[in-house]
Symmetry: C2
Subunit: 127 residues, 2 copies
């Protein structure tokens, strides 16, 4: 079934490095039109347009016409889900890290114990 469509999932949309570069450039306020992106990214124009299409489809960018150019604008809000997801690991790589490791080892010991007594299935989820 292949991967989730890049055109329907933000996580997939930003999985492509070029598209992240585009997002970066747009975030800085540079490169509002396609030609400039082409120049900076040193990619063929069709490639850039195609990436922009993906970004448009997931709603990460919006366009408005300015003469024969298309000015692209970043819609940062669409990155929220990624932010939120990554956010809840925040604590894990700060001081909590040590604590987590400890928990892990404890759990490991628990499991071992459980296995010794109840071989096979008997791992209920604690909560």
């Amino acid at each position: 079934m292949a991967r989730a469509a890049t055109t329907s999932d933000i996580f997939n949309a930003i999985a492509e490095p070029r598209r992240r570069e585009i997002v970066d450039l747009l975030a800085r306020g540079y490169c509002r039109d396609v030609s400039e992106l082409v120049r900076k990214l040193k990619l063929p124009q069709p490639a850039v347009s195609k990436h922009l299409r993906v970004l448009r489809t997931v709603g990460l960018v919006t366009v408005h016409k300015a003469g024969q150019r298309r000015l692209y604008e970043l819609n940062v809000d669409e990155l929220k889900p990624v932010h939120d997801w990554i956010q809840h690991f925040e604590q894990l790589w700060t001081d909590h890290l040590a604590g987590i490791k400890e928990t892990a080892e404890t759990t490991a010991r628990d499991l071992a114990a459980r296995n010794r007594s109840a071989p096979g299935h008997q791992h209920d989820s604690k909560e």
Copy 2:
């Protein structure tokens, strides 16, 4: 040329929803062995093992053996690049949003000016 390999790029590794679920479960300290993941995710065991392999390859998880089980541990540090990338949009979706929009319009005006003088084209105002 297809996409970047899920096995070499963190962004691709976490693009797959199931893998994110696995990461979530591991982060909480639940589901340290494969069977438990299988049960919670309601996925066939080979599928889970395959996802775990991807996560292992990018370094997001590590395994250690505990009897016939494999205990998986999350290596949160590998999420740092994602965190860092998303981080620098932080300001954009708070109060800075308005400011950014303004900047955008200014840039548009700049572009118009540059076009008038240089590459022989213009596209004034916007919209």
